[in-house]
């Protein structure tokens, strides 16, 4: 396949960026999107052009590091995949593909397609944990029984990979799906209920301070989430937040 790539280039956080156009030839449909980018970068290096910076690591869809906005969608046109698991067979010969970084005020561009998502980390520092010492001197694991459905739903929420596609795709750049996934995981488990009030208040406060937008329930995040995290989690967090606010 022969393709035209319109790629966002930006030297660093403070400079202004713009689109550059690069043609690429002989793309195999079996390539992953990032392998196609590798090939392009190899060509750019040979031509003496600065290669395109993009974040990536595990390339098997679990680390959450890759983060491209492809043809107007987070992680591109396929569903339930990260950019690294998007394959070129989803495109046609002759296509022009627009590639941008995830855009949000809370995710400043580091360079080209790489963005700084440390806002997510800071939200987690505010309460994304259960306050238990790591001494191992806890009760036996089977002393806490958890209903299978709750355990499964907690797991489903916990599979969030923190890639930021929800923020990138939301028209309001809201981080509600990400934050609610963590709040939900703990809210569903007896271990997490002990400090549920403080957790949700602190995490939401930090989320707001980071400059993410508000949730208007468009549902776009759920559609674009590579792990299919459900909107139910946002409702659960809203519930937790209301209860916590009333409690104080």
């Amino acid at each position: 396949m022969n393709l035209t790539l319109k790629v966002w280039r930006q030297a660093n956080t403070t400079t202004r960026g713009s689109f550059e156009t690069y043609p690429i030839a002989d793309v195999s449909p079996d390539m992953s999107f990032l392998e196609m980018m590798d090939v392009l970068n190899e060509e750019l290096i040979q031509k003496g052009i600065d290669p395109i910076a993009f974040d990536h690591d595990c390339r098997e869809g679990i680390c959450g590091m890759c983060s491209m906005f492809i043809n107007g969608e987070a992680h591109g046109p396929d569903r339930l995949v990260t950019t690294c698991q998007l394959h070129m067979r989803k495109f046609k010969d002759g296509d022009t593909i627009t590639i941008e970084p995830f855009r949000a005020k809370a995710f400043p561009v580091v360079k080209d397609l790489a963005v700084d998502r440390s806002a997510f980390d800071r939200v987690q520092h505010a309460g994304g944990f259960i306050s238990v010492n790591t001494s191992g001197n806890t009760q036996d694991a089977n002393a806490i029984t958890i209903e299978k459905h709750d355990a499964d739903r907690a797991f489903d929420a916990a599979t969030c990979i923190g890639c930021g596609a929800c923020v990138a795709t939301c028209k309001n750049a809201s981080a509600m799906l990400f934050v609610s996934a963590k709040v939900s995981q703990y809210a569903l488990l007896p271990q997490g209920k002990v400090e549920a009030t403080d957790r949700v208040l602190n995490m939401v406060k930090q989320m707001d301070e980071e400059g993410f937008g508000n949730c208007t329930n468009t549902g776009a995040c759920e559609v674009e989430c590579p792990k299919g995290i459900s909107l139910e989690n946002i409702a659960r967090m809203n519930r937790e937040y209301l209860t916590a606010s009333i409690k104080g």
Partner: protein, 667 residues
Amino acid sequence: MGTLNSNIPKGPLSDKWTQHKSNINLVSPANKRLIDVIVVGTGLAGASASATLAELGYNVKTFCFQDSPRRAHSIAAQGGINAAKNYQGDGDSTYRLFYDTIKGGDYRSREANVHRLAEVSANIIDQCVAQGVPFARDYGGLLDNRSFGGVLVSRTFYAKGQTGQQLLLGAYSAMNRQIGRGKIKMYNRHEMMDLVLVDGKARGIIARNLVTGKLERHGAHAVVIASGGYGNVFFLSTNAMGSNVSASWKIHKKGAHFANPCFTQIHPTCIPVSGDHQSKLTLMSESLRNDGRIWVPKKIEDAKAIREGRLKPTELAEEDRDYYLERRYPAFGNLVPRDVASRAAKERCDAGFGVNKTGEAVYLDFAAAIVRYGKEEAHVKGLDENDAQLVKKLGQEIVRSKYGNLFQMYEKIVDQNPYETPMMIYPAVHYTMGGVWVDYNLMTSIPGCYAIGEANFSDHGANRLGASALMQGLADGYFVLPYTIGDYLADDIRTGTIATDTPEFDTAEKEVQDRLEAFINNDGKNSVDYYHKKLGKIMWNKCGMSRNEKDLKEAMTEIKELREDFYKNVKVPGGLDEFNEQLAKAGRVADFLELGELFAKDALERNESCGGHFREESQTPEGEALRDDENFTFVSAWEYNVEPAKAKLHKEALNYEEIEVKTRSYK
């Protein structure tokens, strides 16, 4: 460097750890506040160690090259984590886990370390559940287990196919709590460039801020390396793109011995290579071998027809299939350890029975499991067990609930539906048992420098059993290092903050700066990846699943030549003071180019077959691996000596007190 002292405590094996903990020095809570510890890496080992050290009261500085600690590659571990809980009541015990691990490692691991690992394994599960890790549960609300290769009990705890993710996020959450409290200072997008020694002790690191390109000095009373394995020396592996040996290699160059570099695990169930553009390989969890049957065609002409697309695997009659693992190893069948399964696949493909275009793939078939589960389900629901369509549908649902995410991943990559046609798999580099040599306290041969998790060598011998890596990473980080490091730091309570404006830091920083400038100013013609791919080819072809003297010698020469060419002709675009991925990569590949040669040298030196290391010169008439206990029951610990080929070998003899060393058999 002095002689190797593994510092194994005296006393009966099962009491060593308890007694050791009672006897070692402690640092008082008030004094811990005066002590700084650096941790490099935030995988299971690094994250759990950072969290625990901070919780104990030390000031921790943690570094990772990714944009967040949660990205570390432990996150990709799929199948599960072992623990001797015996919740299934199938005869498991600390001793049996210890025994299985030693045997699985083909009697090349350190007995005392492995026993300690088995002892603390149960605590890990308690700890993780308390932290909110959502392990799989049964309908009674209790924890569920599954079985993994090389063992006869079900002791593996899991969270669907994402156990590593859940455990890492658990450790990350423990870290977050300490970051929020200000006890851990986290440095994301920072790479450790070198270790700084003061009076022979590890006292800090030089790190590079990968965003600004600036070099930074960080002092500490101890440095912990938790930077994972070096599988990416093969270019293609199941490791993450950024996984590298650099932190381990830098400390090796400063005096830490590197142990058993040739012990590499080639995982049998990975998605085969599809073309030259391939950047990494994807693992399909070993748990699939619980239900999948591995086969190739019995007749070579069928294999040829399949390769050419004239025949579909589903069309091949049962009697024309060779379930070679079940044939060769009736006792363990498809659940033989990884090294055995990998070599058997290679043997069949080398003999011409491979099934994809490249001839390097075998089938992993779920058809039988789908029928078996479907019939069970039909029976439970009181439906017709003889309705093939219904049985298939019910069976597929069960298989989906067990392995759904893996099947989906396979379909996305290969574009074939594994519910309908067998998966194609081939072995790929996955884990490195070798690593930085450490003593019982996990301290390297540099005082004050520790190595934990996959970065060290101690627990898995020549082959790691499935679901043991997660166990070791968390055991080291949560329950071993935080105790043993106190023994060393107890002498440092009066040292005060480590100053970084000293000649030692000046020299170290200057060296790093010079190295980076040399890359930028090199003005060569080949990209970094060009060299990495070439190195990978040499490693795979000559130091891969099957090794011999001639190939290994050639590999050493070729790697040396490639390294020299690299320094002459590598082209690194961009500048020093900016986000420059190619520059970061150049430094990592430079280290791989040295490690690769030592790897080949180690493999050459070890003229026996054990675990993942198979020397063609040392095999039984049936082609099984043949160990040489008389001459090789030792750990090869290599001392740096400028040229990898001239590295000095130290042997740590392995003494087995509790275990009778036997031939490993899975027949």
